[in-house]
Structures are given as structure tokens and as C-alpha cells.
């Protein structure tokens, strides 16, 4: 819980009657989903800036709803709880913290290409409209389990330690590179995603430093180039060498010889071998590494 969260909750309660009236006016068919929202909760979701939000303008909410329907619904779902590939926006820390589109705007305008999120050409008014609509969704439901973050710490830390020692310890150490990992990544789900595949999933890379892929291009016995892999397909490979020079080579089948070094290869190779119990056990173990 962040400092000041208790005060936030009190003030939220004070706002409830006002919100109920406003929402009832604009909700129409969406009444069921547009009950009062309470921001954040006791279990790790970032506390939002609810108190700085002005009551929603019904016309703005309607505009935002229409824009959202066209631009966002397919990926994030009509109820903003997740759709075709896109995450649940109602529980998103970014959305929770957003007041009137100021946090949402850069995501919409720049996209998140690494997560498959396209960028959208929207005016700042349109972003505010979408934000206004998003903020009509409740961030808590009737069933506490629906709102509580999942309980990821179900594994056996001892078994996880044994697994770690057998499969992970050749590259990692809980007294070395992973020292204090359970403290650095306090959210168990983020911790689980991070150790499973650093850099994948949402928010998983916060406390990790994933080295880039590198590549060796052998033009001849005398001419060998190494560097960070910039791009590669069947026809071209581009590397950036230690001096910062970018070099592009045309590929013709196996000429020149190209060898890519993926630092995450061992993580990928493990994917087909895990049981879910292995995963939960290792998470329980790493969470205990304070």
C-alpha cells in the first residue's frame, strides 16, 4: 500500500453518492457495469488518483464510449476487461492512476509495438473522451475474488529451490545476480512472469536487465563481425558493433555464415519442459529470496 492510500479511500467513499447519480444518468444499457468505482485495493494494485478526477461529463463519456468501441473494443473487450490479445484495462495500474487521459495518451499515441498494441491518431480531446469512458467502469466487483489479484504464491518453496538448483543455478545465483529478487519484485505475478521469460509479459522487465541478442557474421576466415543484432530476416542481417557502427550484410542462403546468440535461449528451451507445479514452486522460492 502506498502512503496516503487510507485517506484516498475515505475520500472515495465521500464521493460515492455523487458518482452514483452521475453514472446513473449516463449509463443507459451499461448500468450494470457502471456502478461506483472504488480505486485500488489492499493487495498491490497501484492506488489511483481518483480524488483529482472531476465528475464525468455525460456527453464526454458517451463520446468516449463510441470512440472506444471503434478503436479499442476488439483487443481490450467491450467491458475493458480484456479481449482479443489486449489486457484488462480496468485493473491496469496505468488506467487506475490516470486522471483525464494524461497517462493513457502516450500509450495510445505511441502504441506498444512490443506487445502488439498499435498507435492511434487521436486528438487530446478524443483521448480524454476515451479516458472518461474508461473511468466509468468499476474497478471492484461484487465478488471479492473478481477484484483481488490472483494468489500466485501457491507453490512449495523447498521444491522450487530444488528445481532452481537443478535447472537455473548454472546461470543464476540468489546471492549474486538474483540477490533480493523477492524484494525487488514485490508482486508475485510480476515475479513469476519475469523469471519465466524476462522481458515478456506486462511489467515483467522492471527489475531485470536482459542483455540483447548478439550475432556473429563470418564473411571469410579473415573477416568476422560481431555485435548487437539489430535486425534479421532471410535476406538481410544488421548488427551494431562495439564501436557503435551499424553494418548490414546481404544474406544468400548460408552465405555469409550467421550465428545468433540469444541470451534467453535457455529460458526458451525450458518452456516445453515445465509443469505448472514447477513454475509455481520456483515462484514461491524466488519470492522468499529477500
Amino acid at each position: 500500500m502506498l502512503p496516503g492510500a487510507g485517506a484516498c479511500r475515505l475520500r472515495t467513499r465521500a464521493l460515492l453518492p455523487i458518482l452514483i447519480v452521475i453514472v446513473a444518468q449516463v449509463a443507459g444499457q451499461a448500468t450494470a457495469q457502471a456502478q461506483t468505482r472504488t480505486r485500488g485495493n489492499a493487495a498491490g494494485i497501484p492506488q489511483g488518483a481518483i480524488d483529482t478526477r472531476l465528475p464525468s461529463d455525460p456527453a464526454q463519456v458517451e463520446r468516449g464510449k463510441a470512440l472506444y468501441g471503434v478503436r479499442c473494443t476488439f483487443c481490450h473487450g467491450a467491458d475493458a476487461r480484456g479481449g482479443e490479445g489486449g489486457p484488462n484495462l480496468v485493473r491496469s495500474g496505468l488506467v487506475l492512476n490516470d486522471v483525464k487521459g494524461e497517462l493513457i495518451a502516450p500509450v495510445l499515441q505511441n502504441g506498444r509495438p512490443e506487445m502488439g498494441m498499435p498507435k492511434f491518431d487521436l486528438t487530446s480531446t478524443q483521448v480524454s473522451d476515451i479516458a472518461s469512458f474508461l473511468h466509468t467502469f468499476r474497478a471492484a466487483g461484487r465478488d471479492p475474488a473478481r477484484n483481488a489479484p490472483p494468489n500466485v504464491l501457491v507453490g512449495d518453496a523447498k521444491a522450487g529451490q530444488a528445481y532452481f538448483n537443478a535447472k537455473c543455478a548454472s546461470c543464476h545465483s540468489v546471492t549474486g545476480d538474483l540477490k533480493g529478487l523477492g524484494s525487488k519484485i514485490a508482486d508475485p505475478k510480476t515475479l513469476q512472469q519475469t523469471w519465466l521469460m524476462p522481458g515478456a509479459g506486462r511489467g515483467a522487465s522492471a527489475a531485470t536487465n536482459v542483455p540483447p541478442k548478439t550475432v556473429t557474421v563470418t564473411v571469410s576466415a579473415a573477416q568476422k563481425f560481431e555485435g548487437r543484432l539489430d535486425r534479421i530476416d532471410d535476406f538481410t542481417v544488421t548488427l551494431v558493433d562495439a564501436g557503435g557502427t551499424s553494418r548490414t550484410f546481404i544474406r544468400n542462403g548460408s552465405t555469409p555464415a550467421v550465428e545468433v546468440h540469444d541470451p534467453l535461449r535457455p529460458h526458451k528451451d525450458l518452456l516445453p519442459t515445465y509443469t505448472d507445479k514447477d513454475i509455481h514452486d520456483v515462484t514461491a522460492y524466488l519470492a522468499s529470496v529477500k
Binding site: T73, L196, D276
Partner: protein, 568 residues
């Protein structure tokens, strides 16, 4: 067969008033194997996307070069709709029931991204994006007209293409209208509402014209009932409607559901066209995921028919002839809406009429398309881990432990699938079925333990766990085994709505497709060896081919541009 064709041809002529020779689609052309023209979504009804054209072939592919390119401008703010390089602007025709405020335009809009199949009829190209349709000259890509629909809303994820009947075109709009256009002028003849937007239907599909039926399927990611509807091509009146799930107590499939309410709102939307067998008059189409997609308790323990199935519908009556469920009681939103491929080929020593499909869940099937008899099941994505094996019916048995888990279940494939809607191809020269695929993993977290479940696609959180590769995969229909795979080097995960690439094979012993690097590539269909390529940046639509004035073209879309290639 010949007599049947003649009969159908004659019938169609009678039923098609106002045919304009030389430009309108001759209905007989729809029954021919894919060759000079491209008159329907898959080129022909078989779904093979195999062209008989041989002018471009392995011996001369090195001389394949740009013939022309053309760029579209979507939306309402761009009269003319094309950049004709100084030529007079093409006419823009505006229709629709919305205000226009929600129409998209600009380079990043989905209305500027061509993923549709492109019809080629009588020297003209016809193609579409959400709310937009165009005609272009097939000789140089010059835009002839641009139609814009003022939308009321709905999911604008993509549009798969137009249907054609005589001189009329059919467009589905995201806000669920069927719009009939005059192919010569782009002017609207009529439009009909397909389903209410308020129930969150949306339409991305390409209508398929068979005889005097326009077949239309929709999309919906809430829980609204799924149906395939046949419309009269002249008037737009409904001829018949087939629901993917039981809508009343008389349906024998009801026993596969917890109750009628669950069945009625059980999903199964047919948002990708099927294929058609003229001899049996069966339209064979894949159905979508059941809903609620993830929190499936409310659906009961049964198979949830006829979701995630191949279904064969009699095109005259709208009645189900047979079905085969490719993903019983799906729990991962893995639609089975992939294009089925109809093949006449030897199987166990005799010639059979087959249907082949590779579905989003990672499994590959060969069936008898007359009876639906199961013949082969295989896996085209070796990492798929959600099943406990294949049962006596040839169907994968779901492992409930891999549905999802509060603490997370590691599942392959991701929700985006081991493949998705991008059409595969089949070459009779090699006997191989080609499809772009991915071996991917995600953690699926159960976020909604309410026994009522969530609506639509809710109730889970999916987080990527890594991709082991994306591939051009060749499958053997006789064994269900992978014949060869070409891995796209170090390619990132597919995902979102652009999973993989739509493929084309030709009698010139060529296999065409986009790749993740933004190249259009020609491969040897026997081995996967690369024969030719060109970098276009982002190959968004299917590779296609047609023959005009004695010249064979290879056509592909890359976002807002069309590129046509021919021999130097």
C-alpha cells in the same frame, strides 16, 4: 460434372439480370478452378488458393519485377480515394447511416490497412477495408472509384473482402450492414442491417456468393447468438439462417450444453468464409469459439456444439449435413474459423473428396467432405500442450488443468493461436498443405472465479511467456505430419490480429507469402527453398495472381498500397 456445370451456368444466367458482357462476373467462372481471374474470396470455391497459371514459374521467377503499385487513401476526408499521380481524382461515393465522426483515416488506421482478398474480374480489381471499398484498373492499379460507409461504430479490426454477383458487389461493414454496390460506378444499390450493433455484433467477413445466395457470417465478442445467413443477391431479403448453437429445445445439440440459455448465447461466430463443394451443394465453414470463452463453467461439461467445428451446410436449405468438432469445449478462444481446403486426392489407395483444415488450437485434420468422416488428426504446432491425446473420434481431449489457473497455467499456443485466420494454400503438385504457424507460450491466469463466469472473452489474464519460433509449415494430409518447416529467423511473436500470412501456390511450382521481415517471398513448394523475394515493408494481405492481356501478375497488398509483379 460437365452437365451439372452447364445446368448451373444456365440457371445463373437466368437469375442474373443486367449482366454487362466483359465486366460483370460470369457465374460459370465461379465454378472453374482458379486461373485467369479471382472472382471470390479464395479465388475459387475450393479454398486451395492454387492457381493453374504457369507463365511465372521456377525457371523464370528471377525475372519477376514490379509492374505497378497503387496507394489508397481511406476515410471521408479524402475525396478521390486514390493518388493517381496527376490523373483526375476518382469519384468518392458516400453512404452509411452514421455521422461520419467515427470513420477512421490516416496511415495508422485499420481502414488504411488492406488485409482483404482482392477480386479480379474483367480487368478490374475490387477490394475493401473497414467502411471502405475500391475498384482499380487491374492493368496499372489506377483507382476507378472509392466507396465510403459512414459508420455508427463497431469493431474496426479488418475487412476480408467483397463478394460479387453479376455486376454487383457486396460489402459487410463493421456496424453490421450488407451494402450492395454497382461494380461499374461504385454507387450503392441498397443496404440491409445484418444484426444490431447494440448487441456488440461486428462484421469483418467477406460475403460468399453461391448461385443466388449471398452467404454472410458475423463476429461478436460478447455472448450474442451466432448465425450464418443467406441473402437474396438482388433484393437483400433473407433466404435462410443457420445458428451455430441450439436456439430451441428441439435441437439435438442441446445435450452438449448446460441449458438452453447457455446454448443460445454460446457463440460460434463464422467470421471467415467457408469453402463450397458444387457436387454436394455443401458450404463447409469453420465456427468460432464458444462463449463465455474462458470461464466456461456456465456452458456445462459438454462439447458445446457446434462451436469450434467444421460444419457442412446445404446451400439451398440452410440445413446442417454433417459436422466435425475440431476443439471440443474450447476454453482458450481458439476459433476454428480457418479456411477449410477442399481437395480431391488419393487416400489409402483410392481417390477421395477431402476437406483439410489447420485450426488455431494447433491441430490438423483431414476429413471426407461428403460425409464428414474423420480420416487424419495431427499436430502442426508440436508445442501445443493443452490436450491429453486424441480420442477414438479423432478429436483432441482437453486437459482441464491447462484451461487456466489462478496461479497461472503455461499453455501453448497463446490465444492468438498456432495459426489464425490468414488463409492457407494446398498444391496438388506436391500434395502438401501450407500454413504459417507459431510455437508460442503464454501464462493464462484465471481472474474471475465467479461461477457465473465472465461475459465474452473475460475472466482471464494472458501474459506472453515466449515464442519458440514462427514458421512456414508444410503438412502432409495423408499422415497429419509436418513435411517441412521454414523458420523465419529470430522473428518476434505474432499476435493481435495479424497472425501469420495468407499464402498462394501455383502450377508454376511456386509458393508465395509475406514474411515477418516485410518481404514477399517465393518458395519452392517441394522443399521450402527460397527462390525470389522483394521487401515491401509490411505484407498485410494475401498473395494472389491473375492473367490479363496475356500477362500473369502476382498481386499483394502492403498496408495502404497494392503491388503487382510481372515478368520483365
Amino acid at each position: 460434372m460437365k452437365n451439372l456445370k452447364k445446368l448451373l451456368f444456365a440457371t445463373a444466367l437466368v437469375l442474373t439480370p443486367g449482366i454487362v458482357p466483359g465486366q460483370a462476373l460470369d457465374p460459370a467462372d465461379l465454378l472453374k478452378p482458379l486461373s485467369d481471374s479471382w472472382p471470390t474470396y479464395s479465388g475459387d470455391y475450393s479454398g486451395k488458393r492454387y492457381s493453374a497459371l504457369t507463365q511465372i514459374n521456377q525457371s523464370n521467377i528471377k525475372n519477376l519485377a514490379l509492374a505497378w503499385s497503387s496507394r489508397i487513401t481511406a476515410g471521408l476526408n479524402n475525396a478521390g480515394g486514390g493518388r493517381g499521380g496527376g490523373a483526375a481524382a476518382a469519384p468518392t461515393i458516400i453512404g452509411g447511416e452514421g455521422t461520419g465522426e467515427l470513420n477512421e483515416s490516416g496511415p495508422n488506421s485499420r481502414s488504411s490497412r488492406i488485409v482483404s482478398s482482392i477480386l479480379e474480374v474483367g480487368g478490374k480489381l475490387y477490394f475493401s477495408t473497414p467502411d471502405n471499398a475500391w475498384a482499380a484498373d487491374a492493368r496499372d492499379g489506377h483507382i476507378l472509384w472509392h466507396y465510403v460507409w459512414k459508420t455508427k461504430g463497431g469493431t474496426h479490426t479488418g475487412n476480408r473482402g467483397l463478394g460479387m454477383w453479376g455486376n454487383q458487389l457486396y460489402l459487410e461493414t463493421p456496424d453490421n450492414y450488407l451494402v450492395c454496390l454497382d461494380a461499374t460506378t461504385g454507387k450503392e444499390r441498397w443496404h440491409k442491417m445484418l444484426a444490431p450493433l447494440s448487441q456488440q455484433y461486428f462484421s469483418t467477413n467477406s460475403p460468399i456468393v453461391i448461385g443466388n445466395h449471398v452467404l454472410v457470417g458475423l463476429g461478436n465478442d460478447l455472448d450474442s447468438p451466432a448465425f450464418l445467413t443467406a441473402y437474396d443477391p438482388e433484393t437483400g431479403e433473407i433466404q435462410w439462417r443457420w445458428y451455430a448453437t441450439p436456439q430451441d429445445n428441439s435441437d439435438p445439440a442441446l445435450k452438449t450444453w448446460a441449458n438452453l440459455t447457455a446454448a443460445k448465447f454460446g457463440g460460434g461466430h463464422m467470421w471467415i468464409p467457408g469453402s463450397y463443394d458444387p457436387e454436394t451443394r455443401l458450404y463447409i465453414v469453420g465456427t468460432g469459439n464458444p462463449t463465455p470463452a474462458y470461464t466456461s463453467k456456465s456452458r456445462g461439461e459438454g462439447d458445446n456444439l457446434y462451436t469450434c467445428s467444421l460444419v457442412a451446410i446445404n446451400v439451398d436449405t440452410g440445413k446442417l449435413a454433417w459436422y466435425f468438432q475440431t476443439s471440443p469445449h474450447d476454453t482458450h478462444d481458439w476459433d476454428s474459423t480457418q479456411t477449410p481446403v477442399l481437395v480431391d486426392a488419393p487416400f489409402n489407395g483410392r481417390q477421395r473428396k477431402l476437406v483439410i483444415t489447420a485450426t488455431r488450437n494447433g491441430f490438423f485434420y483431414t476429413l471426407d467432405r461428403v460425409t464428414g468422416e474423420h480420416l487424419v488428426t495431427g499436430k502442426f504446432s508440436p508445442t501445443a500442450n493443452w490436450d491429453k491425446g486424441v480420442d477414438s473420434r479423432g478429436q483432441p481431449v482437453r486437459n482441464p488443468a491447462k484451461d487456466f489457473d489462478i496461479a497461472g497455467a503455461l499453455v501453448s499456443p497463446t490465444n492468438a493461436g498456432a495459426t489464425n485466420w490468414m488463409p492457407p494454400t494446398y498444391s496438388p503438385d506436391t500434395g502438401l498443405f501450407y500454413v504459417t504457424t507459431e510455437d508460442s507460450y503464454a501464462m493464462y491466469y484465471l481472474t474471475d472465479t465467479d461461477p457465473r463466469g465472465s461475459m465474452g472473452l473475460g475472466g482471464k489474464d494472458e501474459q506472453a511467456a515466449g515464442s519458440l519460433g514462427t514458421f512456414l509449415t508444410a503438412m502432409d494430409y495423408k499422415t497429419g505430419k509436418i513435411a517441412w518447416r521454414h523458420q523465419y529467423p529470430e522473428a518476434g511473436a505474432w499476435g493481435g490480429t495479424n497472425v501469420g500470412h495468407a499464402l498462394l501456390s501455383t502450377a508454376g511450382k511456386l509458393l508465395f507469402g509475406g514474411d515477418p521481415g516485410g518481404n514477399l517471398v517465393a518458395y519452392d513448394p517441394a522443399t521450402g527453398a527460397i527462390l525470389w523475394h522483394v521487401h515491401l515493408g509490411d505484407v498485410s494481405g494475401p498473395a494472389q495472381t491473375y492473367m490479363l492481356d496475356g500477362k500473369q501478375y502476382v498481386l499483394v497488398s502492403a498496408v495502404d498500397s497494392l503491388y503487382a509483379f510481372a515478368l520483365n
